[in-house]
């Protein structure tokens, strides 16, 4: 019963909040360009419109094409279940581990890249090959960063890391954690197809990575993929928010439900702050040439490894 409640709260928060994050980023970018921009709830409207539209499927495509959006969404939601939105959800615990979450995301990516190749179009192949290259270069940095975090708490379980963060000095001010935060921020930008790695608003297929894989999708499949991409973005933001900013330590109350509600509110504030940060990064950087992305990946790995050395030499 507890597990069911946990799953419902997690999924509800992720699915309902994820499109809002996209809306906030677009609004911030618009304001910086002296535009009004689309409404905050634009992605919600888009998703509900897309669900009702017909979909056109290529005759070259096989079952991989139609199955991939479902697999992508379900794997992203499953991975999202492994990062609790607030540490007060622990009584409703779930057998989870950050490595499992990362590899479940890899399952979604595997099928999406296959779907890009399925229709026999050049753009799909291009998007798939670029996406896989970026993923393979970012993966070492992600795992080094995440496992260094795990070293503090002696376990790779997200709950344990969150709990350990609540003891002692606010987590972010520890030098190792600043480095790891920067490393995971770069990985967030890469995995969610944000500038400087990929431009989510580009209309030029030759510069697309993520969008090129989805070029053939329409209707309800496109809705599923858009939702999945925004949930994946929220997943990485939640990782940053909950593992590096354990502000729940300031909540002192004995009544569990109130703590939970306050925790959720605090989570919302943290997510908005990080969304603002991501939007600012998108504003102040330019999209890199594709073959400069390995340099960015190397920078991320260097930051993560330095964070590890910092932990290793100085300790916690």
């Amino acid at each position: 019963m507890n597990t069911v409640l946990y799953i419902l709260i997690q999924l509800g928060v992720f699915v309902l909040l994820a499109p809002l994050v996209n809306g906030v980023i677009k609004k911030v970018k618009a304001f910086s360009q002296k535009r009004k921009g689309p409404p905050l709830a634009q992605l919600y409207y888009d998703l509900s419109k897309l669900l009702k539209k017909d979909c056109v499927i290529s005759d070259t495509a096989s079952w991989v094409f139609t199955a991939a959006p479902y697999i992508f969404l379900v794997t992203t939601l499953l991975a999202a279940l492994f990062v609790p939105v607030t540490v007060f959800l622990q009584p409703f615990s779930f057998q989870g581990d950050i490595i499992l979450a990362i590899y479940i995301l890899a399952l979604g990516r595997f099928f999406m890249t296959l779907a890009g190749l399925d229709t026999g179009s050049t753009f799909g192949g291009m998007g798939s090959s670029r996406e896989m290259m970026i993923a393979s270069l970012m993966e070492p940095a992600l795992l080094v960063a995440v496992l260094t975090l795990g070293l503090h708490s002696g376990s790779t379980s997200v709950f344990a890391i969150m709990h350990k963060g609540m003891e002692g000095v606010p987590y972010l001010f520890h030098p190792a954690n600043i480095l790891l935060f920067a490393a995971i921020l770069i990985i967030l930008l890469a995995e969610t197809a944000r500038i400087p790695v990929d431009d989510p608003a580009t209309h030029l297929e030759l510069t697309m990575v993520h969008e090129a894989m989805l070029l053939e999708y329409s209707g309800r499949h496109l809705a599923l993929i858009e939702l999945a991409a925004s949930v994946k973005q929220l997943f990485f933001i939640t990782v940053l928010a909950n593992l590096f900013l354990p502000l729940e330590v300031f909540i002192h109350t004995d009544i569990h439900t109130i703590a939970l509600i306050l925790g959720l509110g605090l989570y919302f504030l943290k997510v908005m702050a990080l969304t603002l940060l991501v939007a600012l990064v998108e504003l102040y950087t330019v999209k890199l040439r594709f073959f400069s992305v390995p340099n960015l990946a190397a920078a991320s790995f260097a930051l993560a490894f330095l964070g590890f050395i910092q932990y290793f030499v100085v300790g916690r």
């Binding site: 279940l81 057998q95 026999g120 496992l147």
Partner: protein, 688 residues
């Protein structure tokens, strides 16, 4: 069924072992007797070898699940002094025989259908005889209890596999591949022989038993290096791997499956046996060396696999990657055991052996799939394929599932063994000495990169071969392969899924092996619940339950499907052509090619690949319209160019010079040689 397997009595196990060997021998004999009747001979031989494999599975499982610790099987002393054949079974042998027989059952089932395309063209009877002899030799390698029988069956295994590799030897590149294989494996065996002779000289016994203090530490280090090079050559550890990408594509696919699936693991068996059983592990830097060689093999193996367009060479390089992962686990285990961290050693050892059996299963499935592809399309080049998923749906599905397993994606078994390797590296950082911590974090980075590159590699393979439009005529008129082939591959793939969902099914028998070799039980460190319900694996308080995650995933799929259907009730699906920018229907040439798909990594890792590019242009009427353009890009193996090339060049030059000087062809000079040798020996022995 569990009652049947646990507590099997000694006589039953002995009988099953002899039955297994006899049935394999009988299958070999039958295929020779029915030499000219290809169909009957093939079917009978493969059914017999399937029966033998079942016997082998039964006997190894009953040993692993039962209480017996070691089972001496046969001791035969011939008339030649020193030549005794002594066979015995212990938990490590039983585990490897389990891997061998699981794979050989499925491969024999597959061969029922696969060899049909050799009927009336090649000697199928000879093939099946060699095949069964190969299986017997491997089973005997795993059960050898003294050095002589180990070497004897090791050599037999190498020679029979050479014969199988050059089975289709009319093409010159095939015989060259076989020659490279033969030379490399004998070079490795030479190192092994030196190591064994050293062991015998200092311990005075040919039994595989702990040497204790008889071998001094500096000598132990030397023997360690000799064993590492000798077994590393067979296993395909970089830089001794050069024969693998030649031998595996040349051999028929069922033999490649066996070679990649279990023959290269026999080297890991030998390494474990001699390191833990004879030398005794007490030095941590041995483990670090094995770990470093594992990391290098992992990353470089998959990097080379990405560049290959011949799908069997791709799979061969991928085997090198997975051997690297097995070596990583083994290295951590050796280093931890030497440092006294026994639970960590047990965890790493479990990870290593779990990955071993996983690799047997999924690489076996992939090579069988490659064989199905070759059977259907008669080409080994991915660039000629395309759109096969619609015409070979079952092979395609099984190939996708096996590729998911090898890319370490949940809920398959590859993920479990990689997770265990990550956890052992993580525990290593938590617990052990400083140098090892740094190395372990670098190993984590290497493993992460290799895992992602493996996914890239298999997305390329499946995407280019199975999806899209056919790029060549050979891919247009294909049919699904016979059911026997699908069944063999399907069995291996379903085992991958089962072991991924219920990892305790493998860990419980493995615990016996770990207990015997390392004297530590990992089940205390890996808590979890009952085998079939709520199946979890937990270590350090972080647990995973793949079965649970899969159930949840399926439930979510249904929920999403229901939500989508209700929201979009009135929407429909239209089938139309792929978006072609208005230029007219897309054809197969506009799709991405395999070379193009892996180009980003070729550019990023150009220091490793040293790619060379050639552009040949035939000019036409105008500088803007050429008659034809040819673009050739190739990567070189730096090991062959900078190490093996010069080495073989030097050896060939030396032997040429020696031949001119020493082997003159003149009988008089040879008589002088005999005379001088006799005089020297008489003078040398005058004191005795």
């Amino acid at each position: 069924m569990l009652v049947l397997f646990s507590g099997g009595s000694v006589t039953i196990m002995k009988t099953l072992f002899y039955l297994m060997l006899t049935l394999y021998a009988f299958a070999a004999a039958v295929s020779l007797i029915l030499y000219s009747r290809h169909r009957a001979g093939n079917i009978l031989a493969n059914i017999l070898s399937m029966a033998a494999s079942l016997g082998g599975i039964a006997f190894s499982l009953s040993f692993l699940l039962g209480p017996a610790v070691s089972l001496p099987l046969l001791a035969w002393k011939g008339y030649v002094p020193y030549i005794t054949v002594s066979l015995g079974l212990d938990s490590l042998s039983a585990f490897f025989i389990l891997c061998l027989t699981l794979l050989s059952f499925c491969v024999s089932l597959y061969s029922l259908g696969y060899l049909t395309h050799y009927y009336n063209k090649r000697p199928v009877g000879l093939f099946n005889c060699l095949y069964n002899l190969f299986l017997i030799s491997m089973a005997l390698v795993f059960t050898s209890r003294n050095i002589i029988s180990f070497l004897l069956f090791w050599e037999l295994m190498s020679l029979v596999s050479y014969a199988l590799v050059v089975f289709e030897a009319e093409q010159p590149e095939n015989s060259r591949a076989g020659l490279i294989y033969l030379i490399m494996t004998h070079a490795g065996t030479a190192f092994l022989i030196v190591a064994f002779m050293l062991i015998y000289t200092f311990t005075g016994s040919l039994e595989i038993a702990p040497a204790g203090d008889a071998i001094t530490p500096p000598l132990k280090n030397l023997i360690f290096f000799l064993l590492l090079i000798g077994f590393g050559t067979k296993a395909g550890v970089i830089p001794l791997h050069v024969w693998l990408p030649y031998a595996h594509p040349t051999a028929p696919s069922n033999i490649s499956a066996l070679m990649s699936g279990i023959m290269i693991k026999s080297a890991v068996y030998g390494l474990i046996l001699f390191l833990f059983g004879v030398l005794g592990v007490s030095t941590a830097w041995w483990g670090m060396t094995i770990l470093v060689s594992g990391c290098v093999s992992t990353v470089l193996g998959i990097a080379y696999a990405l560049m290959e367009n011949n799908y069997k060479r791709l799979l061969a390089y991928s085997s090198i990657e997975n051997i690297g992962i097995i070596m990583m686990g083994l290295g951590i285990s050796v280093a931890a055991f030497a440092g006294g961290h026994e639970t960590l050693a047990g965890l790493a050892f479990t990870a290593s052996l779990f990955h071993l059996i996983n690799h047997t299963l999924f690489k076996g499935a992939l090579f069988l799939g490659a064989g199905s592809l070759h059977y259907a399309t008669h080409t080994k080049d991915i660039e000629h394929l395309g759109g096969l998923l619609k015409k070979m749906p079952y092979t395609g599905l099984l190939f996708i599932l096996a590729s998911l397993s090898i890319s370490a994606i949940p809920p398959f078994n590859g993920f479990i063994s990689e997770w265990l390797t990550y956890q052992s590296l993580f525990s290593c950082i938590l617990e052990s000495a400083t140098e090892l911590k740094l190395l372990a974090m670098l190993a984590i980075a290497a493993l992460a990169m290799a895992g992602a590159l493996a996914a890239y590699c298999f997305v390329k393979l499946i995407g280019i071969a199975f999806l899209g439009l056919p790029r060549c005529d050979c891919a247009k008129k294909v049919r699904e392969v016979p059911t026997g082939m699908l069944a063999g591959m399907g069995l291996l793939t379903s085992l991958c899924l089962i072991f991924g969902l219920f990892p305790r099914l493998v860990i419980n028998p493995l615990d016996k092996v770990v207990r015997e070799i390392l004297n530590v039980s990992i089940l205390s460190g890996l808590q979890g619940e009952h085998v079939f319900v709520h199946h979890t694996l937990e270590t350090h308080g972080s647990g995973i339950s793949p079965a649970y995650a899969l159930l949840l995933g399926l439930f979510l799929v249904l929920a999403v499907f229901a939500a989508v259907k209700t929201a979009g009730a009135k929407s429909s699906k239209r089938i139309y052509g792929t978006w072609d920018c208005g230029f007219g229907k897309l054809n197969a040439r506009l799709q991405y090619t395999a070379t193009g798909f892996s180009k980003p990594i070729r550019i990023v890792l150009r220091g490793l690949y040293r790619p060379t590019r050639q552009l040949q242009v035939e000019p036409g009427p105008s500088p803007y319209y050429h008659k034809s353009m040819k673009y050739i890009v190739s990567t070189q193996s730096i090991f062959e160019k900078y190490f093996y090339g010069p080495l073989t060049g030097a050896v060939t030059n030396l032997s040429r010079k020696l031949r001119l000087v020493v082997q003159t062809g003149s009988v008089h000079i040879y008589l002088v040689y005999i005379f001088v040798t006799m005089v020297v020996l008489l003078v040398y022995n005058r004191a005795n």
